[in-house]
């Protein structure tokens, strides 16, 4: 069992190309989550009450539901109703993105609220508008503080992406299962898939760690915002 059979070796290229699908899902979701999460967090802190409640409800729903339920709901329920032509990969990316947006919004909100009031006062005393102060003083600090929490979304998304198997996205786990169905030997195949996930996980975290270090400024330790 420890020796890889020719059948498994032949199927490795197919398995490996699943890495691109998996990483594609993760990167698209991270990006979508970022694009949604920052404005959502700003609305939570600075926005009008009714909008703030809308965002909070959104977060409550997307953080409260299992990823599998969200995938089923969107794949079988919402998308067929409103956009029947979208394929499973894009649906999965949207669902993962919507979900991480909820988490990211909370991360950014915490970071914004951790910036002292004096920063805003100082900016306004220089004649900046509220919007200008947020954009040039508050957000640059808040985003730095949010970075450790934000990069933590990567391993979560990576492991969650495997659940997209349930709606037939041809990512790593799906391809692993297809290979098992074709040639058997589930243990060997699953262990290879596990190793790939673990390498992607810690390799990615290492890269994000490097990025964090690059943006470190004295006084902004790694303390979670």
């Amino acid at each position: 069992m420890s020796i890889l059979s020719p059948a498994i070796i032949d199927s490795l290229p197919y398995l490996f190309s699943g890495i691109f699908i998996t990483l594609g899902l993760v990167i698209l979701a991270l990006g979508l989550g970022l694009m949604m999460g920052i404005p959502m967090s700003l609305i939570q802190v600075y926005g009008p009450r009714p909008l703030e409640y809308c965002i909070r409800t959104y977060i409550w729903i997307f953080r409260g539901l299992p990823i599998l339920v969200l995938l089923f709901l969107f794949y079988f329920g919402i998308f067929p109703m409103f956009a029947p032509d979208v394929g499973p990969f894009w649906i999965a990316a949207v669902v993962l993105g919507f979900r991480t947006a909820a988490y990211q919004s909370e991360i950014f909100r915490g970071a914004i609220q951790s910036i002292s009031e004096g920063q805003m006062l100082a900016a306004r005393s220089l004649g900046m508008s509220r919007f200008c102060a947020i954009r040039t003083v508050i957000l640059p600090q808040a985003l730095r503080r949010a970075l450790p929490g934000w990069t933590n979304e990567y391993p979560i998304l990576l492991t969650d992406s495997s659940v997209c198997y349930a709606i037939g996205v041809a990512e790593l786990l799906t391809r692993g299962n297809q290979i098992v169905a074709r040639i058997g030997d589930p243990m060997t195949v699953y262990i290879i898939v596990a190793i790939l996930f673990i390498l992607l996980n810690y390799g990615g975290q290492w890269i994000f760690g490097r990025i964090e270090n690059r943006y470190t400024i004295p006084g902004y330790g790694h303390g979670d915002a």
Binding site: G64, P66, L173, Y190, V193
Partner: protein
């Protein structure tokens, strides 16, 4: 609308059965996941080099490997090397292994945040190392790690749905099968969604109450 009403009468008993399985999965896994977390954390902090490394490796593996893949390994993989569990047992084992790995990280943080003087003082009174860990270090460490452990419990509730992927008919699975038969995905998953939101929200409230009840002046949590 009449069609939907008809569905509900059939749907609710099905979901009720599934909900019971979901609750069983959570309630069986959570205590063992908690104990597993304590064991791994103690191994990492107080174990000798080998035990500590082993526990660290455990955490790296089970945090790095997707839970769904872990369930596949246990339910579909292990039988090929002669180890067979029922689907329910496989799911519970997977949840305990994974939940324990995450719990252990919070508990380890808690242990390390307890000042060294606490151990010194306990030893100075004649306690053995084990006694000191049990009655001085752990009670403090667990209090400090409670917010993290609570988070993991909420995750456990949500990820229990993955058991359906290895044929355990819990509420998500029960709903999916029903929805496919009557082609009523939207309605079914709205109800399931409400179930999970209620469960998660109630759990959050209960945890908050527990936190309040065991709160001690001077303990903010990590």
């Amino acid at each position: 609308m009449i069609q939907l009403q008809f569905d509900f009468d059939l749907l609710l008993p099905v979901l009720y059965q599934g909900a019971l399985v979901t609750l069983a999965l959570i309630l069986v896994s959570a205590p063992f996941g908690f104990l597993n977390g304590i064991a791994i954390a103690l191994g990492r902090v107080y174990g000798n080099r080998f035990v500590s490394k082993l526990c660290h490796g455990y955490v790296l593996f089970f945090k790095g490997c997707p839970l769904l893949l872990l369930l596949f390994i246990i339910y579909f993989g292990l039988p090929s090397v002669g180890i067979t569990f029922t689907a329910f047992t496989s799911a519970v084992i997977g949840f305990i292994l994974c939940n324990g790995a995450y719990n252990s990280e919070y508990i380890r943080g808690g242990i390390q945040s307890v000042s060294r003087g606490q151990m010194t003082a306990a030893l100075s009174l004649g306690m053995s190392g084990m006694q000191a860990i049990r009655s001085i270090i752990l009670p403090q460490a667990l209090r400090k790690s409670l917010p993290g452990l609570a988070n993991e419990f909420i995750y456990l509730i949500k990820y229990s749905s993955l058991a359906y992927m290895i044929t355990v008919i819990e509420i998500t699975g029960a709903g999916k099968i029903f929805a496919a038969k009557y082609f009523a995905f939207f309605e079914v998953f709205i109800i399931i969604g409400i179930f999970y939101l209620a469960l998660v929200t109630i759990a959050g409230q209960v945890i908050a109450r527990i936190e309040k009840k065991i709160a001690i002046p001077g303990f903010g949590g990590v």
